[in-house]
Symmetry: C2
Subunit: 303 residues, 2 copies
């Protein structure tokens, strides 16, 4: 079943010790949509300016992402983020953030998308996330991302979103900030009490875990000997996760475990190249081979 993805569409300028790009395709909706597109049809909602060129659209088209929901603002400029990574890829410095057309983004579901059954709300203002949830008539399974900025600055609005969504993706520090618990398993439990029946906590190079009332599943990250550009890895993880669930068409224990693996594997690909290059043109068998390798690495025979 198709997944609707809402979030930022950006042109990213990224500096790393191993290479740089200027105004390359980026943004939470873009990373998540590309990742999800390997498992399920994707419909994207976002906003761009006139500087969003054919070469950028071509990447999305190649992944058969339906961009009917992407508004182009005449005379406007696309959201631009500029950042720099250190030798340690965990060290990231933001050099510039120009919201541009994204500042006035009011996401609207195109006609016919209101009854979507699967929804990913990328990391945007919780007021907009709430607005979009209210546009849905089909009681979708909704996964949501957020960040420290909203947890601190729009906590009340975020809490309203959490009451309505089924799944929250957060990283470890966001989970602690949101819950007030330093132990991540207690933090996940606390977040579940705020609404989402599924909480996925992302720990970057240390992997991720998902918790429901009945299930705890932990997966390490796929081992990488070199990380070039981790931009968007969290969005790719979430997109891969929800794309897998939407493809399975049903939320149950096996499908959740499978989704965690897909998210993990796709996130590993995106770290290996600049911008979306690590995930924009993968062959399905490459993904399958890495999943097999991942299972091999964690394999435990009967003890």
């Amino acid at each position: 079943m198709s997944l609707v993805v809402v979030g930022s569409i950006a042109l990213d300028s990224i500096e790393t010790p191993g290479g740089s790009v200027e105004k390359a395709l980026g943004g939470s909706a873009v990373y998540a949509s590309i990742a999800a597109s390997y498992r399920t049809p994707v419909r994207m909602v976002g906003i761009v300016g006139e500087d969003f060129r054919d070469e950028h659209r071509a990447v999305l088209e190649a992944r058969k992402i339906d961009c009917t929901g992407v508004e182009t603002v005449a005379g406007g400029r696309t959201f631009h983020w500029k950042g720099k990574y250190g030798v340690d890829p965990n060290q990231r410095e933001t050099l510039a953030t120009e919201l541009n057309v994204f500042e006035d983004f009011r996401p609207a579901l195109p006609e016919g998308w209101e009854d979507t059954r699967w929804l990913f709300l990328g990391n945007i203002d919780p007021e907009l996330q709430l607005d979009l949830l209210n546009q849905c008539t089909g009681k979708p399974f909704a996964g949501c991302d957020t960040m420290n900025y909203w947890i601190e600055g729009k906590r009340e609005e975020l809490l309203k979103v959490l009451e309505k969504v089924n799944l929250l993706f957060v990283n470890d520090s966001e989970a602690r900030q949101l819950s007030g618990e330093s132990n991540l398993y207690l933090a996940a439990r606390e977040i579940m009490s705020l609404g989402p029946e599924i909480v996925v906590i992302k720990k970057g190079e240390h992997g991720a875990f998902l918790m429901t009332r009945d299930l705890l599943h932990i997966a390490p990250a796929f081992p990488l000997e070199a990380v070039l550009d981790p931009t968007g890895a969290g969005d790719v993880f979430a997109g891969g996760f929800l794309g897998s669930l939407a493809s399975d068409g049903k939320v149950n224990e096996d499908n959740l475990r499978r989704a965690l693996v897909y998210g993990t594997i796709l996130a590993s690909f995106t770290c290996e190249k600049l911008s979306v290059d690590g995930i924009s043109a993968r062959e399905v068998n490459e993904i399958g081979e890495r999943i097999d390798r991942f299972l091999e690495i964690m394999k435990i025979e009967h003890l």
Copy 2:
């Protein structure tokens, strides 16, 4: 087959937000020996003073640990460590370190132990580790632990040890310090080039991985909702790991994977109580149940 364990025997005074103990049983040899004893007979080499009391010996006797190699110095005092943990159990402050009899420790294998096939060199001066290795006539499979203090202060001696041992246990920061590589997989590879054919990197709450020329195996930590006292967890991990290998009697892929799980599970127990209380009196079925739970948490069906 029996495992010879060499290391510190200590009386630890530990303060945590959840409780404190004064001069309780501790030390790398003690934690590792107790852990290993669940899988294999253990022979311990160490040194204590007259303040090492019957109640301390009783814990080791209950685990059937052979203490023939433990020297008691008349009129001497046992190594004493005093430390304090914060609400975040990763925050540890050392309040006092009194080497006492440990300062003059020259470990000697008792008669009949020289041909041991399995050896764990706990975190002590690499000169002493080397001395002990040279006392072994049976070409043992030797696992070794070390720390930042020796990596910095006795690097050359440590490198000589690494040439002779089969396995090195280090934590993530020690691996980076020893290898000069920030990526942990590259660090493990670099350390293998220094001698050990097996490198195990411990990442605390983030789990551990082992690398050989042919195998990479990653395991997350067992999920704990409360960590009371992580003292000795690394020693317990190493002891559990080598106890499992020695019990299997052979180093191969399956046995290494199994050893990593045993180390992981025993380390989780020790964090739950003060001093050695978390591991000193476990029932074998408790360990088995936690292993089953661990496998359940990581279970992935065919994708």
